[in-house]
Subunit: 327 residues, 2 copies
């Protein structure tokens, strides 16, 4: 049920309901410094497990897949810190945390560079047909069919970034170095940013060759990329989505790709993962990855250190490294 090492009994307790990736990979890093209370390894039902530790647990570590409801919070009256390995917070009852004085530390921008790199990789892949060319070579077609069709140049492309947070900004930085011209849409114009701002996604699409989705999924952004936006992007247009599948109306996207209403797509995310629309499998101008933009070995190690740093700061009454600040 918990670490049997007698030394660990003197360590601060850390509640973990389900193991995040970083625990699967780097558990020793945590068990060296904390007494890990591992629900998923316990034969005891959740209620009893929480009851057994409610009088001592001040900190917990969760992933983005572990919902923290008001009910869970009520069962842990001494809880003061939730460390979540996600950047997003939609799995946590934030008002209840606030009411109870529970602080939250999240992944901050630990993943942002990886996501931005994949966005650029998907864009180069779609425009220069890398994955499709790779299939062409692997199928042995080169000696038989000869020259592979030309791709399209990145330099000079007008790229519209939707959501200019830490990821969007890193995408912009990378694509500027390649010679693309950047404009953006976000909830509001950012005064410190030199790129042209469009407050309307359709206008942005009309004036761009490429759209890169970097925004959060909210009620406002769900199906923001609809038929109208896709038609505004047009027959030469390419869309890259490393954000969330449901930001695009996926049925319309598939139809536009199949019918040639847009030129191509690079998709790390889908509306009903892990289900992917089968119509896309036949298209050479679509590059897909299985929601992997976030993770590399290196960023998980960085995330592990960030979570450890937050926990150590908490237990020694220092400021958190990546606190979630109430807006």
């Amino acid at each position: 049920m918990e670490n049997q090492n007698p030394v660990s009994e003197n360590l601060p307790k850390l509640l973990i309901l389900r193991p995040p990736h970083i625990i699967k990979l780097f558990e020793d890093q945590f068990s060296d410094k904390f007494q890990l209370l591992k629900l998923w390894e316990s034969p005891i039902p959740t209620d009893q497990f929480l009851a057994a530790h409610c009088a001592s647990v001040e900190a917990m570590l969760i992933s983005g897949l572990t919902p923290i409801t008001a009910d869970v919070l009520r069962r842990l009256p001494l809880l003061r810190l939730i460390c979540t390995t996600s950047a997003g917070l939609n799995h946590i009852d934030l008002p209840e945390c606030r009411r109870r004085g529970v602080s939250i530390a999240n992944a901050g921008s630990a993943y942002s560079e990886d996501v931005a790199d994949l966005a650029v990789g998907l864009l180069i892949d779609v425009l220069r047909r890398v994955s499709a060319a790779n299939r062409f070579v692997r199928d042995g077609a080169w000696p038989i069919k000869g020259d592979y069709p030309l791709g399209s140049k990145l330099g000079g492309k007008r790229v519209g970034i939707i959501g200019l947070g830490s990821i969007g900004f890193l995408v912009a930085k990378r694509l500027e170095a390649i010679g693309c011209s950047i404009s953006y849409n976000s909830r509001k114009k950012k005064p410190s940013v030199p790129f042209p701002f469009y407050d309307n996604v359709c206008d942005l699409a009309t004036n761009c060759d490429v759209l890169v989705l970097c925004c959060a999924l909210t009620d406002q952004t769900r199906h923001m990329i609809n038929k109208e936006v896709l038609l505004a992007l047009g027959k030469e247009g390419v869309i890259i989505n490393i954000a969330r599948g449901a930001i695009i109306d996926e049925k319309e996207l598939v139809r536009c790709l199949v019918e040639g209403e847009i030129a191509g797509a690079g998709l790390d995310v889908f509306e009903n993962e892990p289900q992917v629309p089968q119509e896309l499998f036949a298209l050479d101008n679509v590059v897909m990855s299985p929601h992997r933009a976030v993770f590399t070995h290196e960023s998980l190690w960085d995330l592990c250190q960030l979570m450890l740093g937050n926990l150590e700061a908490f237990f020694s009454n220092k400021p958190l490294l990546s606190p979630v600040v109430d807006e």
Copy 2:
């Protein structure tokens, strides 16, 4: 045999032995301004064709696939300009051109950005497993096999660029924006460049996670990347080749990839194109494209304009736009 349009007879003559890509795509651009003498459309043998025009041809347009020997040059005594759509010049007898006062204009750096973009695309693809992940999704494996293996982060990687000409420099610029640290090898240290220089490729490989080949194929660089260099690069190392296949000892490369002596490769070029070693087809950590780094629609259009500009400058006694300067 030649353009029948009577207007064209007043235009300057342009000899074309075989049609470069830009003539296939944009012939009108040239025929509007020049009287095209097209050997490949003529029923007359080459000797007679050249004899028929030798008293009037001052300029010719060639691709990198048309050898210009001393014999060809002797048959065209009035020739003063060769425009080659290639960046390389190894198909032209340069000493004989010099002796005869024939100027040469080449592609300059018209392709460099495209090549650099593909190098970056191949590196992201190999490190983040884009093409392999794309196959995983297309094969319908995601719902069945679940999480795809983690990739490796680009930021922080030590990248060694071999050959820091216009392409190598653009690769460096792009990878710096992604957070890689750059060092390089070239014939000699470049005083104006801030990156660490290694005069020995093996030392460079020892100190790098990634090698990107951007140098010309010469007697000195043939099989420069041999077993020793590959073993120095090591089991975590990745090699990207957008230069020429024969710069790598391909048999050793295949052996190292199959046996896990290096981590992966992104290859646009091969020793015996279009033949590709079949052992590579089974490897997920290898991304291949069929020698397409150079060409996009946009760069061919730019090249067309550059060649037209050189020809117009020549015929109006102005300086060439992209002259080859004798070293």
